[in-house]
């Protein structure tokens, strides 16, 4: 296994050794793991990009609320909003719009690509599609950036966790933000080291975030946390490209996330028993969702 990696340091060493980007190493490693040609791997990723685009289109077309009433319509609302002096840059606004379309589509039982999970499915696609438009990048570049994000996700999955039920929202939305930050950085021409700086900075910003979905549904706070993750990813990518480095390297930030996740009480790990889920509103929604069935 010439391209196998399990940590950030190992992946970075491989990019150094082969003089290539994170995406190349991840593509080669996947081809090895799945015993497939690199081309098939790229084709499969392209297919996923297609599903993402369909989800965005369908998500943008609808404004009705989901069955629980907790989400829906915000993708259209944000599209329509055009302040005279926009303070949030257009690419970030566009990325958030796309992520809302995906998340609202998901809440309406639509077809999506978990990335890495359903709750965080808007973050990486939103960032990458909006950035590719702004930078004039084609699908080939977009697909490669998806592999960059996946490489970061694999490292987090192998060394910590990617599920709210095991590590809180830091593991879902935090991981997605780190994945997006690295991918954005590669897409913009950053070095592999800058990609890892971006991932480290992004993940640090969301460490400790708990998983507290109202009624246990993947809607609130999940939809808007994707917006948080997106803004955080763009910020981290810019810092890394400016040459700013994280004091704590990526692998150690992942380790910190794992330890924080392990010490989180069950009430803050997707059980809908704490945090926002336990607020007055959270409890009211829970009763409304479960109520009409007994």
């Amino acid at each position: 296994m010439g391209y196998a990696f399990s940590s950030g340091t190992e992946l970075l060493d491989l990019t150094d050794k082969h003089g290539t980007a994170i995406s190349d190493i991840t593509i080669n490693y996947s081809a090895e793991q799945q015993n497939l040609a690199g081309l098939d791997i790229l084709g499969e990723m392209q297919r996923r990009l297609q599903v993402i685009r369909e989800a965005i289109d369908l998500g943008m077309q609808h404004a009705e609320r989901s069955a629980s009433g907790l989400s829906g319509g915000d993708a259209q609302r944000l599209t329509a909003y055009a302040p005279d002096v926009p303070l949030l840059g257009q690419p970030v606004k566009q990325a958030i719009t796309y992520s809302f379309a995906i998340m609202e589509h998901n809440a309406r039982f639509g077809r999506i690509v978990a990335f890495p999970t359903a709750g965080s499915a808007g973050t990486v696609p939103g960032c990458l599609l909006a950035a590719a438009e702004a930078l004039g990048k084609d699908d080939a570049a977009l697909v490669r950036a998806m592999f960059t994000s996946a490489g970061i996700g694999m490292i987090i999955g192998n060394n910590a966790m990617l599920a709210g039920a095991t590590g809180g929202c830091q593991a879902e939305v935090g991981s997605a933000s780190a994945m997006a930050a690295a991918a954005l950085t590669e897409l913009r021409g950053g070095s592999p080291d800058q990609c890892f700086q971006a991932a480290a900075i992004a993940l640090k910003g969301l460490l400790g975030l708990v998983c507290d979905p109202i009624g246990g549904l993947v809607e609130a706070p999940c939809v808007k946390r994707n917006a948080t993750a997106i803004a955080n990813a763009f910020m981290a990518s810019d810092l890394a490209l400016a040459g700013i480095v994280s004091n704590v390297p990526f692998d150690e930030v992942v380790e910190a996330m794992r330890n924080i996740g392990r010490s989180m009480p069950a009430s803050l790990r997707e059980t809908a028993k704490g945090g926002l889920a336990a607020t007055e509103t959270g409890k009211r929604v829970w009763c409304a969702v479960m109520g009409d069935e007994s």
Binding site: I112, A114, S149, A150, G153
Partner: protein
């Protein structure tokens, strides 16, 4: 587990939840494959978080979709209740407490098809992945739908497991992993074997000839 690219960018799924919708559909699909098609009747019991929040996630609908043989990304998942009616599958879904040892996202199925009755317990372990924990009350290992898998219910007697593995070796197949568990000594035992290649029909026929073997099933890769 060692994560792969399409575990991270994936699965492609019908929302809203990878564990409560996608994983539930996959569990139903395993049962569909094990009983050889869409059951005529299905009793599903939900445990833990499945029981608590199934409604908002469409866990019930997803389980039915799987029993009908739909994949987790099949858009028909949404209308699985109507599809079940059309397919003539009657079902009952209830909430139970299976006890502390069970994963929070667990479902217990009792299904009947063409006179055969089967009881399966499985759980959704995250990101759309599943694990079958028992068949007919016998604990199972290595049953997650990620390998071509041979499942043999046999009498717990000396030489039966050797007979199974020898038959596999004669067919030139490679065993990736295997596990054997039994009810009580001398009663029924269940052998689960993950294989690297597709299981040929004559292997199943040959095994079924042995009178100490009660039944043979194949679970194909369902990802």
């Amino acid at each position: 587990m060692s994560w792969q690219v399409f575990d991270i960018v994936g699965p492609i799924m019908i929302g809203p939840s990878s564990s409560h919708t996608s994983g539930a559909a996959r569990l139903g699909k395993v049962v569909h494959e094990l009983i050889g098609g869409t059951p005529e009747t299905a009793e599903i019991q939900l445990h833990g978080s499945f029981a608590e929040v199934y409604k908002g996630h469409g866990t019930d609908i997803a389980l039915l979709a799987g029993l009908l043989g739909f994949a987790p990304d099949d858009p028909r998942l949404r209308q699985a209740a109507e599809e079940a009616q059309q397919a003539g599958m009657t079902y009952m879904i209830s909430c139970v407490d299976l006890g502390l040892g069970h994963h929070p996202n667990t479902a217990k199925f009792s299904v009947v098809r063409q006179g055969e009755r089967l009881e399966v317990i499985g759980c959704s372990i995250g990101a759309g992945n599943v694990e079958i924990v028992s068949i007919e009350g016998i604990k199972t290992n290595y049953l997650d739908g990620k390998f071509e898998t041979l499942i043999v219910m046999q009498q717990d007697a000396p030489g039966v497991v050797a007979e199974i593995t020898e038959t596999i070796a004669r067919e030139g197949l490679n065993i990736a992993q295997m596990g054997v568990a039994r009810e009580d000594r001398g009663e029924r035992a269940l052998t689960i074997i993950n294989l690297d290649e597709k299981i040929p029909d004559d292997l199943i026929t040959e095994l079924a000839c042995d009178e100490r073997i009660l039944w043979v099933k194949v679970l194909p890769i369902i990802y």
